[in-house]
Amino acid sequence: MILTKAQYDEIAQCLVSVPPTRQSLRKLKQRFPSQSQATLLSIFSQEYQKHIKRTHAKHHTSEAIESYYQRYLHGVGKNGAAPVLLELANEVDYAPSLMARIILERFLQEHEETPPSKSVINSLLRDPSQIPDGVLANQVYQCTVNDCCYGPLVDCIKHAIGHEHEILLRDLLLEKNLSFLDEDQLRAKGYDKTPDFILQVPVVMLCPLAVEGHIIHWIESKASFGDECSHHAYLHDQFWSYWNRFGPGLVIYWYGFIQELDCNRERGILLKACFPTDIVTLGHGAAAP
């Protein structure tokens, strides 16, 4: 699903200040029926993350934390079974899982002698049953399970999606008889930067309108939508690093990308939304699509 910048902007426009709940997602799907759900979710998630990054700081001032905590205490004091924390998060336009983390942290500060470590907090968020306060445990659980952009479950889903696409890509490579080194093998050899796959013998990808093909040494699978922000971050942290070590390569954004970002082809970073069909291997002609 390759979108033009304009198309993308139109979608992103609809996502301003929408809470990350399943209800919001449902509405989004109705609004853009022609786009794939996965693409929409990916865009939504990324836009929401950008929003959170922008507003993160204001929720973490000590005044804000104190005020949230008091409101939480007040709320559960009235009715422990009500979705106090979730509603608080939605009201102040913050991710429920992250709100849960703030309150949990604040709660533990109050109840334990030593300030809680990050790993303790993470483990409590993963398994709220361990939270000593039953009401808070329920509230936290409710937040994490209702948040579709943050939280341990979402992290796991994202991880799983990434993994699945890597497997998918691996199968495609095997199917095409392209031998490769995967990330684990590269790591074992001590590579400092490891794309998902390095082709042991480079291939050329032909493009319909170009005179020349593009040489591909490595392939990176990205199970997300390639928007400007994430793409630039990836370029800086990964793609150029791969190029610096292994030469030109291919990035597959399985959920699509903004067309205009595919501007480094000549330099040696190629974007696709699926596995390329027109590839030429050493000693062979163009592979049948």
């Binding site: 709220p128 497997i167 930067k193 005179v211 150029w240 070590r245 030469g247």
Partner: protein, 1228 residues
């Protein structure tokens, strides 16, 4: 000086004798006595002759309106200043000249010598200007009517020293104060003999930016063809160095006055100069060339004679720069017209030879005649020029007109020339590839260093890319744009080892980008050529041509451009400057020196003299290419070494005073050279490898600072080089001599070096005879590179792109307009791609080794190369093979041993370090097998490889010997490495394995143990784990709420979901442990919600809850998934967590039967032990509950405990049959 010419003109002395005299001092017996006598009286002036001659010619041609590409730096206004043009009809210059060329007596000539020399020492004023590319506002112009000879001349250095400061304006006629250089006893080094004048480099301003030093030997005609490189570009050291030296200027003024005084007193009247060029046509494209007619040549004989002397000087390498002279001659050939001189000048002289006072060139006809004469003598050199130049020469109508014979020869040469200097594609940036052997963690001292370097590599390329994108943007500045980022990066390089890593990267990238092969063989960047050829060479070729056209680099900037860093080299230069890191520079110098030494040792296999057939030719091409790659790499590395090494000493000009200079010299002579280039040069000369060593040495020296040539160490190098230069007589072509093109390359690069601003001009003419003549080692001479035709035209032009200026000059002539601004000549990049061959293995010991050497001696060199190559590769493969087999096996053993150890030690708690020691002590002895196995491997693999690579027809005996040698060498290589390293290797690998195993023991138990894959028949069509987690999450969120009234889950959906979960768990294709863990956890959560009846069911409002039978069935499915399908531990204890049990508290009436059912099933299926459940129940009681709930919980607890240890099957069966008959605890 003039007397000599005079004698020649009078035929008192033969040209041959004169040249002999000039070249060698003519004590030779060959010359006749009369000649010797005539010349011996002129002895003190011998050395003055060539400078004089060159100056004389320049001056004579000063009225020539040149043609050639204009100098773009000039403003239109500057053309008004043309009279100040090169040696241009000089104010007072004419007078000077008439003095300089006196009709008689040596004495007067001698008296005039200093002036002549001084004038000669430098260029005419126009050249001085041109070198700075300056307009009328330049220094010379500013000081007005000074003598042109002085204008360009170097200020006598002594005048600047305090010792002279006391005195009145110097008396220039005084030979004691201003002795001619020729009278200085040989061997006196400038700094030890204070009386000797060392010409300070500057007539400051123009010089300061390292503009091309167009000294008197440079083209006299005011425009240096081709665009002057911009100031920043041309300055090898980047940032402009501020110019100027006030005091110099004052002194000059002083001298100027004195000089003019002198001139006024001079008996010969100075010719008035046509004022301010008003009469001159503007030197632009609209200028039509005057036709040249052989019949109108004024004094043929005299011109012939001078041409002969001049040519002889060129042939004997008495001129510093061969190509500069050729350029000059071509300028004469293509002269547009001549500025009208005073009528007296034009009057034909009465004598046959013409009076010496009359101008040599009286018309364009004379110029062309002279030029053609010289060209005839230089045909050998001309014939080596590129096809384009030859064509232009052959097509030159003047040349045809004046010498049809020469034209014919040139045409023949053109037709015979196969070499075309092709344009290579400018190299695209290609990164240095990551090589685990040198770049992985094992090569770094710490994790931190490793990761720091990882980041640095990326920053380096980021900077490089940005430079690529932006350096051509106007106003972009390297330092401003990238400086701070580079310094921040360099700041992180703390450990010495990181520096060496970075330097290696830097150096490799430098070689890759700046000397990047491209072109030949259709390979781009050494990348999979076949792939590209598949795409069709046609398209690529066209594309490349287009690219060349679009990206043609600038012209090289005149026949003598200053050292510069063209193209990508600028990046590396600026990087070094911006980094400003002492450590980096030191490491870089170390690394460059090492690489230079290594490459300088390049051995070229001897060509097979016996067979000159195509086969040998193929080899030969490859070898030549290899040589070219090595040479070009060396030049690049040496240039950067010179740049970095002399960077701290670099300044715009030499020190102003002698004292300062002496103290600097004293200091500098202490400093050992960064690389012992003198020794390398001496070795190179001795071993007849000058053709490899000198070109890079020249690059190195070209970046030296002003002091360097005065240091004894480097002075001796210059002496050697001068001696070499003199010895490279092109016409000599005896056996064992250097090949013609090899010589030509050396002449070109040396000639260029002698024109570098930092090299004192007097160096060339002063040095004489005192060289410790290097001994040629006759032993090795036949193996030397010099005698092998390693240099081809392409390499010559690549190394000396300025030779292409000749073509440009001719092309402009053809175009009939000088309005075109060059661009014909492009930077040529090498077209070779071959990597360096494997360094020859040294097998020094033993009779066998000697025999092997002897064996190779009489075999074609390709045989030796093949054997060495095979041995090298097989040896290396052998090591890899041992790693992959023996070592890998040992690692496996280590892993299983470790597992055992861990099992036994679990209770005791062992120390991993100890474990490692135990394992190593058990396993390392097995390393001894490596040698045996390695030997076997080499024995097995080498013969086949040798066999495959040698010609089929190789005699059997030769073949088997070759095989045996290859086996021996391979074994030697492999076993040497293995015996030294195998233990360490095993240790390292075992250590890595141990830490891997121990890590696996740690927090991620799921990753451990063998995991079942999916069945063979599986088609991997199960739903993706991510979808399932998502779907279950949705159910959980609906159940937990808040939810809209219409939201709910249908029982069918739940069943379907669990069915899919089963499929996914059975097809493990896409499942990763974290996903499975989350699925397990979610399934437990789901079970808890089922138990607590918390799942909102879609349907009529009355029936909002799941039917108990359905719930039970779902729980059953879950139980079996937990038991049979999950491969990660399922967190079942969560079922009894206070939170999940608490869900029950909200239901009214509370129904405990499903929980009890679940607990029983868990126990029965062995998913949880009774004890475990009891523990959970126990801890449940500690939580705070509503009182009634606590009571019910206690009842459940008792009930569960009361049940028989092994539940009766009937009971369960009956429960399943009657799901509703569950015990309602609240009622019991």
């Amino acid at each position: 000086m003039a007397a000599v010419l005079e004698s020649l003109l009078r035929e008192e002395v033969s040209v041959a004798a004169a040249v002999r005299w000039i070249a060698r001092g003519a004590q030779s017996s060959e010359g006749d006595a009369g000649e010797a006598a005539a010349l011996s009286s002129l002895r003190p002036l011998r050395k003055e002759f060539v400078p004089f001659l060159l100056n004389f010619l320049r001056e004579q041609s000063s009225r020539v309106v040149p043609q050639g590409p204009p100098t773009p730096a000039k403003t239109p206004g500057s053309s008004a200043a043309l009279p100040g043009r090169p040696g241009g009809p000089p104010r007072g210059g004419r007078g000077a000249r008439s003095q300089l060329f006196p009709p008689t007596e040596p004495l007067s000539a001698a008296a005039e010598a200093p002036a002549a020399r001084r004038g000669g020492r430098r260029r005419g004023p126009g050249q001085a200007r041109e070198r700075g590319g300056r307009g009328p506002g330049s220094l010379e112009e500013g000081v007005g009517g000074e003598s042109p000879l002085w204008a360009g001349s170097r200020r006598p250095r002594a005048a600047g020293s305090p010792s002279r400061a006391r005195s009145d304006p110097p008396n220039l006629s005084n030979l004691e104060e201003f002795p001619p250089v020729g009278s200085v006893p040989p061997g006196s080094a400038g700094r030890t003999k204070p009386s000797r004048r060392i010409n300070p480099t500057p007539v400051s301003e123009e010089r300061s930016l390292s503009k091309p030093k167009t000294c008197f030997t440079s083209p006299p005609i005011n425009c240096v063809p081709g665009p002057q490189p911009s100031v920043l570009d041309s300055s090898p050291w980047g940032q402009g160095l501020t110019a100027g030296c006030r005091s110099l200027q004052e002194e000059r003024e002083m001298l100027r006055k004195e000089r003019s005084k002198q001139l006024q007193q001079s008996p010969a009247p100075a010719c008035p100069t046509p004022e301010s060029g008003s009469s001159l046509p503007t030197r632009t494209g609209n200028l039509t060339a005057e036709p040249a007619d052989p019949a109108k040549v004024s004094s043929r004989q005299r011109l012939e004679l001078v041409a002969l002397v001049y040519s002889s000087c060129i042939a004997e390498n008495l001129v510093p720069n061969l190509f500069l002279e050729l350029f000059f001659v071509l300028q004469l050939l293509t002269a547009r017209r001549m500025v009208a001189a005073k009528s007296s000048d034009l009057e034909p002289s009465p004598g046959v030879l013409g009076s010496p006072e009359s101008p040599l060139f009286q018309s364009v006809h004379d110029c062309v005649f002279f030029a053609v004469q010289v060209l005839e003598h230089q045909f050998q050199v001309l014939s080596c020029l590129d096809k384009g130049t030859l064509k232009l020469l052959a097509e030159n109508e003047r040349l045809l007109c004046f010498s049809p014979a020469l034209q014919g020869r040139l045409r023949a040469a053109y037709e015979g020339s196969v070499a075309k200097v092709s344009l290579a594609m400018p190299p695209a940036v290609q990164a240095v590839s990551f090589q685990p052997e040198t770049d992985n963690r094992a090569n770094f001292s710490s994790d931190r260093a490793f990761h720091t370097f990882k980041k640095q590599r990326d920053v380096f390329y980021e900077v490089l890319r940005e430079w690529e994108d932006r350096h051509e943007e106007p106003g972009w500045d390297f330092e401003k744009g990238l400086g701070s980022r580079i310094r921040a990066m360099m700041g992180q390089l703390s450990a010495a080892c990181s520096h060496s890593h970075f330097v290696r990267l830097f150096q490799k990238q430098l070689l890759q980008m700046c000397q990047s092969p491209g072109g030949a063989g259709g390979t781009i960047l050494g990348e999979a050529p076949d792939v590209l050829s598949v795409l069709g060479a046609d398209k690529l070729g066209r594309l490349r041509r287009l690219q060349e056209r679009l990206a043609a680099p600038q012209s090289s900037g005149g026949p003598c451009p200053p050292p510069s860093f063209p193209g990508c080299q600028a990046f590396f230069r600026d990087f070094i400057l911006s980094a400003g890191s002492f450590q980096f520079n030191q490491h870089l110098m170390d690394s460059l020196s090492l690489k230079i030494r290594e490459l300088n040792g390049f051995v070229l296999p001897q060509p097979e003299a016996s067979e000159e057939d195509g086969e040998a030719d193929v080899d030969w091409q490859g070898e030549r290419r290899q040589f070219a790659v090595v040479l070009l790499s060396l030049r690049l590395l040496a240039k950067f070494l010179g740049f970095v090494a002399f960077l701290p000493y670099r300044g715009p000009e030499p020190p102003p005073t002698r004292e300062l200079q002496d103290s600097i010299l004293a200091l500098r002579s202490q400093v050992p050279p960064v690389l012992d280039v003198r020794a390398l040069l001496q070795q190179g000369l001795r071993a007849h490898r000058a053709v490899l060593t000198v070109p890079w040495l020249v690059e190195f020296l070209s970046l030296a600072d002003h002091i360097v040539p005065m240091l004894d160490y480097y002075r001796s190098i210059f002496s050697l080089l001068l001696h070499l230069h003199r010895s490279l007589v092109l016409s000599k072509d005896s056996d064992g001599e250097m090949c013609f093109l090899n010589k030509l390359l050396l002449l070109a690069v040396l000639g260029w070096l002698f024109q570098i601003p930092t090299v004192p001009e007097d160096l060339f003419f002063v040095e004489e005879g005192q060289v410790d003549v290097f001994e040629m080692d006759t032993e090795t001479s036949e193996h030397g590179l010099d005698g092998v035709p390693v240099v081809d035209q392409h390499l010559l032009y690549t190394c000396c792109p300025y030779i292409g200026e000749l073509r440009k000059l001719l092309a402009v002539w053809v175009s009939g307009s000088s309005g075109r601004s060059g661009g014909f000549v492009r930077k040529i990049t090498p077209t070779t791609t071959t990597s360096l061959g494997a360094p020859p293995l040294r097998t020094t010991q033993g009779l066998q080794a000697q025999l092997a050497q002897a064996f190779f001696h009489n075999q074609p060199p390709s045989l030796r190369r093949t054997v060495e190559f095979v041995a090298e590769r097989i040896g290396s493969n052998c090591v890899k093979h041992i790693k992959a087999t023996l070592v890998a096996d040992l690692v496996h053993q280590a892993e299983s041993l470790l597992q055992e150890q861990l099992v036994t030690q679990r209770q005791e708690g062992g120390d991993p370090g100890q474990l490692l020691e135990i394992l190593c002590s058990q396993l390392c002895p097995h390393g001894a097998q490596a040698l045996t196995q390695g030997r076997e491997f080499c024995q097995k693999k080498s013969p086949g490889a040798v066999r495959a690579l040698l010609p089929e027809e190789t005699p059997a005996a030769v073949l088997s010997s070759a095989e045996n040698i290859a086996v021996g060498l391979a074994i030697e290589k492999a076993c040497t490495w293995l015996s030294a390293n195998i233990t360490a290797l095993i240790r390292r690998e075992v250590k890595a394995a141990v830490s891997r195993v121990l890590r696996a023991q740690g927090p991620e138990p799921a990753a451990r143990g063998c995991r079942r894959g999916c069945s063979r028949a599986c088609e991997h069509r199960a739903p993706l784990p991510s979808h399932l987690i998502s779907a279950i999450k949705d159910v959980l969120s609906v159940a937990v709420g808040p939810r809209d009234p219409e939201e709910g889950v249908s029982p069918e959906h739940l069943e379907q979901l669990l069915g899919q979960l089963g499929q996914t768990l059975r097809c493990r294709q896409f499942l990763c442990p974290p996903a499975e863990q989350h699925l397990a956890k979610c399934s437990v959560e789901l079970a808890s919600l089922l138990v607590a009846d918390q799942i909102p069911v879609l349907g009529p409002p009355a029936q909002h809850q799941l039917e108990r039978g359905q719930a039970r069935r779902l729980l059953h499915t879950l139980l079996s998934l937990w038991k049979d399908d999950f491969q990660v531990p399922v967190p079942l204890q969560l079922l009894l967590s206070p939170r999940n049990v608490g869900l029950l508290a909200d239901t009214r009436p509370r129904e405990w039967d499903l929980l009890l059912f679940l607990l029983r099933e868990l126990v029965e299926k062995g998913l949880m032990g009774r004890k475990e459940i009891e523990a959970c129940l126990d801890s449940l009681r500690e939580a705070q509950w509503p009182e009634d709930f606590a009571e019910e919980l206690a009842t459940l607890f008792n009930l569960f405990l009361a049940e028989p240890q092994v539940p009766e099957p009937q009971l369960r069966a009956c429960e399943l049959v009657q799901p509703n008959r569950g015990t309602v605890l609240a009622q019991s």
